[in-house]
C-alpha cells in the first residue's frame, strides 16, 4: 500500500504549495470590526485591478501592529483607532503623508436580546444586575481603550473594571454577549448591527474624540504600489457605499 500513501502525501503537500502567496497578492491587515465590510470590498477591488488577489488578516489592531513590527509581510494596515496607527508610524512602518481616515464608527453598550434589563447609562452598569461585562483588553484592543476612556471620564472605571471579562478583539466581546455568557458588553454600532436578533443596543456612548479608522500602505510592503492603490480605493464612492451599507459613517 505504499503507492497510495505517497500519492496521498503528495496530494496534501502539493495542495499546500498551491496555496502559497503569489506575487500579485495584496495582504491587508485590518481591525476585526472591519471584516464583513472589507470582505465585500475585495471583489470590487479585484475587478478593478485584474490579476490581484486580496488576502485579509483580521485581528485586534494591537495584535496586527505586533505582527508587523516582528516582520510580517503586510501591504496595508487598517486600524480601529489613531493610537495604534501612531505607534505604527513611530516605528517607521507607515508614513504620515500616506495615512487616511476612511470611516467612522460609534461605541455602543449591548445586552443579550433576551435580557430582562436595559441599562440607560454607564452608571447603570455599576448596578448589581451586571456582574459580567465584556470589554476589549485596553492594552491591545482599541474598543477597550475607548471604553476605558469613557468610563474613566465618567468616574465609573474602578467600579466596572472588577466586572470586566477581557476580550481579545471586539468580535469576541460581541460573541460573549450573544451567547448570554455576560450581562452586557461594549462594541461598535456596526458589530451590534450584525446580530440584531441576538443582541440589543442599550445606548450609544458619546466619546470625547470621534472614532475614526485610519488606513495606510506599509513602507516596506512586498506589494507597496498595489497597497497605495487599495488605500485610495477605500475612499472612492463605490467602496464608501459598501462601508455605509455595513453601518460605518463618513470619515
Amino acid at each position: 500500500m505504499r503507492v497510495p500513501l505517497i500519492r496521498g502525501l503528495s496530494l496534501v503537500f502539493g495542495a499546500g504549495l498551491a496555496l502559497g502567496v503569489q506575487a500579485a497578492d495584496l495582504t491587508v491587515s485590518a481591525a476585526a470590526s472591519l471584516s464583513n465590510a472589507l470582505r465585500d470590498i475585495a471583489p470590487l477591488f479585484e475587478a478593478a485591478n485584474p490579476g490581484t488577489r486580496v488576502q485579509y488578516n483580521f485581528a485586534a489592531s494591537g495584535v496586527l501592529l505586533q505582527q508587523m513590527a516582528k516582520g510580517a509581510p503586510v501591504d496595508v494596515f487598517a486600524s480601529a483607532d489613531q493610537d495604534t496607527m501612531d505607534q505604527a508610524q513611530a516605528r517607521g512602518l507607515v508614513r504620515a503623508s500616506q495615512r487616511r481616515d476612511f470611516v467612522s464608527n460609534r461605541l455602543v453598550v449591548i445586552v443579550p436580546a433576551n435580557s430582562p434589563r436595559t441599562p440607560a447609562s454607564l452608571a447603570d452598569l455599576a448596578q448589581p444586575g451586571y456582574a459580567r461585562i465584556a470589554i476589549g483588553l485596553p492594552a491591545s484592543v482599541p474598543v477597550g481603550r475607548y471604553t476605558k476612556g469613557v468610563l474613566e471620564a465618567a468616574g465609573q472605571w474602578r467600579a466596572i473594571e472588577a466586572r470586566m471579562v477581557g476580550a481579545t478583539n471586539v468580535r469576541q466581546a460581541l460573541d460573549y454577549v450573544q451567547r448570554a455568557e455576560v450581562d452586557a458588553g461594549f462594541v461598535y454600532a456596526t458589530d451590534a448591527a450584525l446580530m440584531p436578533d441576538k443582541v440589543r443596543v442599550a445606548f450609544t456612548v458619546p466619546t470625547a474624540k470621534p472614532i475614526l479608522y485610519p488606513v495606510a500602505p506599509l513602507t516596506a510592503g512586498p506589494n507597496a504600489a498595489m497597497g497605495e492603490r487599495f488605500v485610495a480605493f477605500l475612499l472612492t464612492p463605490a467602496a464608501q457605499a459598501v462601508l455605509a451599507r455595513h453601518g460605518f459613517g463618513k470619515p
Binding site: A60, G62, V63, L65, Q66, A69, R132, L137, A139, S140, M164, V165, G166, A167, T168, Y176, R179, A180, E181, V182
Partner: protein, 224 residues
C-alpha cells in the same frame, strides 16, 4: 514583575486540581481498561484519548455547547443551582482536566497491565479480599507508572490554552493562566513581561519532565 506571579499561582492551582481529579478518574478508568474484557474496549480507549489529539478550539467549542449558560448541562446548572461555570476558574479546571486525562489513564492502563498476575493470585490464595488486593498489591506495583503519567498530565495542564481561553476567558487574577498571560503580553507588545512568563513556564515544565523521567517504568528505584 508582580503581575507575573498571580497567573503562576493560578496556573499551579488549576493544574493541581486537574491532576488530583485525574488521579482518581484516570486510575479507575486505566484499571477498568486493563482488566476489563468487554466488547468495544478499543473504541472506548480511542474515544477517551481524543482530547489529547483534538484541536483545543474544537474541545473549547464542545465545552461551550455543554457547560455554557445556554448549553445542555450549563442551562440546567444555572436553573437549578444558580451555578455559572463559564468565565470561572472551575471552567479552566474542567478544560485542563479533560485535555490531560488521556495521559493519566493511558499510563495507568499500561502500568496495571505490567503487574504480574501471579503476585495477585498468590495474595488471593492467602485470603486477601479484592479491595485490599487492589490497594495493597496491585496499586503499589503500578504506582510509578501512574505517577509518571500524572506528572506529564500536570505539565500538560500547566500549558493548556485554547479550550481554557474559550470557556474561562481572560480575567486577571481569576482565570488568566500563564499561557493566556503570555498570549496577552505578546499581543500588547509587553515583551519584558512575556520573556519573564515564558522563562517561568519553561523552567516549571522542565522540572516536571525531569521528575517524570526519573519515575519512568524500567528505571531501578534509587533506595533513599
Amino acid at each position: 514583575m508582580t503581575e507575573a506571579w498571580t497567573p503562576l499561582a493560578l496556573t499551579l492551582q488549576v493544574a493541581g486540581w486537574a491532576t488530583a481529579i485525574n488521579l482518581v478518574l484516570g486510575t479507575a478508568v486505566g484499571f477498568a481498561l486493563a482488566r476489563g474484557r468487554f466488547p468495544g474496549r478499543d473504541v472506548l480507549d480511542a474515544a477517551l484519548t481524543l482530547p489529547m489529539v483534538m484541536p483545543p478550539t474544537v474541545l473549547g467549542y464542545y465545552l461551550l455547547v455543554v457547560i455554557g449558560t445556554q448549553g445542555v448541562l450549563g442551562a440546567w446548572l444555572l436553573q437549578h443551582f444558580g451555578i455559572r461555570l463559564i468565565f470561572t476558574a472551575e471552567a479552566a479546571i474542567i478544560a485542563a482536566t479533560i485535555v490531560s486525562f488521556p495521559l493519566v489513564f493511558k499510563a495507568a492502563r499500561a502500568a496495571f497491565e505490567t503487574v504480574d498476575p501471579q503476585l495477585e493470585d498468590a495474595a488471593r490464595t492467602l485470603g486477601v479480599g479484592e479491595g485490599a488486593l487492589f490497594f495493597r498489591v496491585t496499586l503499589p506495583l503500578a504506582w510509578r507508572g501512574i505517577l509518571a503519567g500524572l506528572l506529564l498530565a500536570f505539565a500538560r495542564a500547566l500549558g493548556e490554552f485554547g479550550a481554557t481561553l474559550m470557556v474561562a476567558g481572560s480575567i486577571v487574577g481569576k482565570t488568566q493562566t500563564l499561557s493566556i498571560a503570555v498570549y496577552e503580553a505578546v499581543q500588547a507588545g509587553q515583551d519584558h513581561t512575556a520573556n519573564f512568563l515564558v522563562a517561568v513556564t519553561s523552567l516549571t515544565c522542565m522540572a516536571v519532565l525531569l521528575a517524570a523521567g526519573r519515575l519512568a517504568p524500567g528505571r531501578v528505584a534509587s533506595r533513599g
